[in-house]
């Protein structure tokens, strides 16, 4: 069934996103990876929405898109501020939270 393909696509996107979050050093890239994760979730929602009928999944997806937009806005602003302070956005150098 078509749903399987959708779920597969969602899973692949999710994995790429997780890989990006863990492996990438560039903060912007990490943000983009997070977007990938969110969109993989969206695809899952839409797929299940299609499977069961109704519009709940659509609504959730729209909601997640709105939240994601806000999240990117905040994230990019933080990256910008980090860049201003350190002239770099490499996440490796940001280890002030070391316990």
């Amino acid at each position: 069934m078509l749903v399987n393909e959708f779920l597969l696509l969602g899973a692949i996107l999710f994995c790429i996103g997780v890989y990006g979050v863990i492996a990438r050093k560039n903060a912007v890239m990490v943000l983009m990876s997070i977007e990938l994760i969110l969109n993989s979730v969206n695809i899952n929602l839409l797929a299940f929405d299609r499977l069961h009928g109704g519009s709940d999944g659509n609504v959730f997806a729209l909601y997640i898109i709105a939240v994601a937009a806000a999240e990117v806005g905040v994230g990019l602003a933080m990256v910008l501020l980090i860049y201003r302070n350190r002239k770099s956005i490499s996440l490796d150098e940001l280890s002030e939270m070391k316990g």
């Binding site: 979050v21 050093k25 990490v30 940001l94 280890s95 002030e96 939270m97 070391k98 316990g99």
Partner: protein, 765 residues
């Protein structure tokens, strides 16, 4: 909203009648506008108040016009025919039996309700119940409020709380308006309480003076005593009839659809207690004269068409409850609670008016006395006459109050003391004097002034309905009214100018006023007069002086215009229901609001009115003679009689102390209730509570020591230390995880999520 309304009922009513609920809404909105934006407006927010009152007046006038059309429209033909046949109007028509039922046709009130809130299946609505009575009251309140607001713009001009004054005044009118068109008891209570609150704010407007804030508190609490009755009575009505709708209550009470008569009687008693408090009837009338502490426009509004009328209005509104509950007009009944309270009030208050030196207090007691007349009228079944007396009384009493304010504002340095600061003013204030005289004549019931038509009708009905005692009370009251008003008029306008008035008139008096000092100050000193004035005499300093030939004639137009309008109405309003000329318009428009059969009003005859009129004339003559002798110039054997002759002195002292009712309430009732409670509370505090506290304290100390030694030191400390050690070890072990690397945190996060997902799958499978 509109279309879904019960279209059939409202259909033909006309726009104004359907939308009469706008009348209280407008001032209520204006109240918020004044509160939020008033200070920024060029006229301090008074424009909102006046605009809203004018708007309310327009809608009320439209409603009145449409109501009159509604009453006269469908049955015009028959009514006319019968009247021309009868010649005596209603009285003859009533004898024709069947035909009478045709004339007294029922005009449906215009009722609209919206659900306000629901509680356990009971819906509480808010809306309007428009019939003749409501329309009359709406028109009256809107009209008087408009004039009073206009008057206030001049009177409280420059006051430091000008904006708040107008806000309270507007909300006050809104409260009264929403009360009079209430379709159910809940909205009625709402309006009733709004008024109580606003009267508190307005009476205490100049709260810096202790006496004023005390008067405000007294008014508030005295009325609250009565309000308990309102809540209890309303709850009982709900229990008896299962509804709070006024129309429903009236219908069922009139039709006798209730379980127990005695329960209804007690409900009526409870509600009547509320009316006693609000309308200043006998045992609870003490707050009304003290309420004079507020600014004069407030007094005039309070005492003419709002607040004090609310109690009488409530009785008139749900008249069947009282009529059935107290068996009014029952065969052979000669007294009932409402009539007794009303009758006592008439005489008690009129007696007090004789010994007042403050012009506003004379008027206040006069109001109390006239309210007694209204209650008495309702008590003897003269519904129309009583309601008509509300109508006419509002105009002339408002006029009298505004005239006293005009005198204080212009002539007597904000003093209301007739003996110290007035006298001889008639020459300089023709408009104030003229309107005062007209209104006084109306108040005394001089023929062809409005008060005659309403008051005489009440007195006449008392006799006609076999309440002979109250007929006698009524004519004695009329005698006393004339007498004290003659005294007040003499003191204010005639005789030798004294104090502030002498200064104003340009006459030297033995007072300490210095003409030359006053000359040096211009008009401008006038402006700051208004800041903190009560009625004290402390405004006599030269700083408040004016040039001696101050005003060519009278107060500014904003004060005199309302006076003139009200003066005209003090005559004209009576002709809506003048039985002498067979005019019974008022009865025709309002009789559907009675809700129950009451006896026909008596046919007017001069012979019936003669005893009352004779007593009025006698009162005038006697009082004029006494006033001249006692208060006038020259020596007279009657001067100082109250000091010299013991019985007179006793009566005088008794009256000056207001029958010792204030003493009774404050020294006896409050003390009897409050002091034993306080003493008992103190004893309990000292012996029981302190003992308890001490015992608990000692016990607590011992327990504490034991707990410290055994539990705290050994058990708790051990546990705390142990957990500390554990936490430190765990922290050391986990420290490397906190690398500060974001990617590592991410990896841990997803790893944990993956483990969680795995567990979920394993558990579910």
């Amino acid at each position: 909203m509109f279309a879904s309304e019960s279209e059939a009922v409202v259909q033909s009513a006309g726009w104004f009648l359907e939308n009469a609920w706008l009348i209280p809404v407008m001032p209520a909105v204006a109240f918020f506008l004044i509160i939020f934006f008033g200070r920024r407006m060029p006229r301090g927010g008074s424009e909102f108040g006046i605009a809203s009152m004018v708007g309310a007046l327009v809608v009320a006038s439209g409603a009145a016009y449409q109501w009159i059309n509604r009453v006269s429209a469908p049955h015009e033909g028959e009514g006319e025919a019968l009247r021309s046949v009868g010649g005596f109007g209603r009285a003859v028509a009533a004898e024709t039996g069947e035909a009478a039922a045709e004339v007294v046709h029922h005009v449906e009130p215009v009722i609209r309700q919206w659900v306000w809130w629901q509680s356990g299946g009971t819906e509480f609505s808010i809306g309007q119940h428009i019939d003749g009575l409501a329309v009359m009251a709406l028109l009256l309140v809107a009209f008087i409020s408009t004039l009073v607001q206009l008057y206030s713009t001049e009177y409280v001009n420059g006051d430091r709380r000008y904006t708040h004054f107008f806000a309270s005044l507007t909300l006050f009118s809104a409260g009264m308006l929403s009360m009079v068109l209430a379709p159910n008891m809940v909205q009625l209570i709402l309006g009733w309480e709004i008024m109580g609150l606003c009267s508190f704010m307005l009476i205490g407007h100049w709260w810096e003076e202790h006496a004023n804030s005390r008067a405000a508190l007294k008014a508030f609490f005295t009325v609250r005593v009565g309000d308990m009755g309102l809540l209890v009575g309303t709850a009982m009505l709900l229990a008896i009839f299962g509804t709070l709708d006024i129309a429903g209550i009236n219908e069922m009470a009139a039709a006798g659809e209730f379980e127990s008569k005695s329960l209804l009687m007690w409900a009526a008693v409870a509600l009547f207690i509320a009316c006693i408090g609000k309308s200043g009837q006998f045992p609870l009338h003490t707050w009304l004269p003290d309420a004079m502490a507020g600014p004069t426009p407030v007094s005039s509004l309070l005492h003419s068409s709002t607040m004090v009328v609310a109690g009488v209005f409530l009785v008139a509104r749900i008249y069947p409850v009282f009529h059935v509950g107290f068996d009014i007009n029952m065969e052979g009944q000669s007294v009932n609670l409402i009539a007794i309270i009303g009758g006592i009030t008439v005489l008690v208050a009129a007696g007090l008016a004789f010994v007042q030196n403050d012009i506003k207090k004379v008027l206040a007691y006069s109001t109390v006395s006239q309210l007694g007349y209204m209650m008495m009228g309702l008590g003897v079944g003269a519904w129309t006459a009583a309601v008509f007396h509300i109508f006419t009384h509002a105009f002339f009493k408002c006029c009298l109050f505004l005239a006293s304010g005009s005198i204080a504002h212009t002539a007597s340095h904000h003093s209301f003391d007739m003996k110290k600061d007035m006298g001889g003013l008639w020459r300089k204030m023709p408009i104030t004097f003229g309107t005062w005289m007209i209104s006084t004549a109306a108040l005394c019931g001089v023929p062809f002034f409005s008060g005659f038509f309403s008051k005489d009708e009440i007195i006449d009905s008392a006799k006609h309905n076999h309440y002979t005692i109250f007929y006698v009370v009524g004519i004695i009251g009329a005698f006393m009214t004339t007498a004290y008003m003659t005294r007040a008029t003499y003191l204010t306008f005639f005789g030798k100018p004294r104090g502030g008035a002498a200064h104003f008139m340009g006459v030297e008096s033995h007072d300490s006023h210095d003409a030359h000092a006053a000359d040096a100050h211009g008009h401008d000193a006038h402006g700051d007069d208004h800041d903190a004035h009560g009625h004290a005499d402390d405004h006599h300093g030269p700083a408040h002086g004016r040039p001696l030939p101050f005003a060519p004639s009278d107060s500014p137009w904003k004060l005199t215009l309302p006076l003139l309008i009200l003066g005209v109405l003090a005559i004209a309003s009576g002709y809506l229901n003048a039985p002498v000329f067979h005019i019974e318009k008022f009865h025709e428009w309002l009789h559907c609001s009675i809700g129950i059969e009451v006896p026909e009003p008596p046919v007017f005859a001069w012979s019936a009115a003669a005893p009352g009129l004779a007593l009025v004339a006698l009162g005038f003559v006697v009082s004029l003679f006494l006033s001249k002798a006692v208060l006038g110039e020259g020596s007279s054997p009657l001067k100082g009689l109250t000091q010299r002759v013991a019985p007179f002195r006793w009566v005088h002292t008794f009256l000056v102390n207001k029958y010792y009712l204030d003493h009774l309430y404050e020294k006896v009732v409050v003390r009897a209730v409050a002091h034993p409670i306080a003493r008992a509370a103190y004893w309990v505090n000292q012996n029981v509570l302190d003992g308890l506290v001490n015992a608990v304290g000692i016990g607590g100390k011992r327990t504490g020591l034991w707990v410290y030694r055994n539990i705290d030191q050994r058990l708790v400390d051990g546990a705390v230390n142990g957990s500390g050690v554990t936490a430190r070890g765990a922290g050391g072990a986990l420290q490397p995880v906190q690398s500060g690397k974001v990617s590592m945190y991410g990896a841990l996060l997803f790893g944990a999520a993956a483990v969680g997902a795995l567990v979920l799958v394993l558990v579910n499978s």
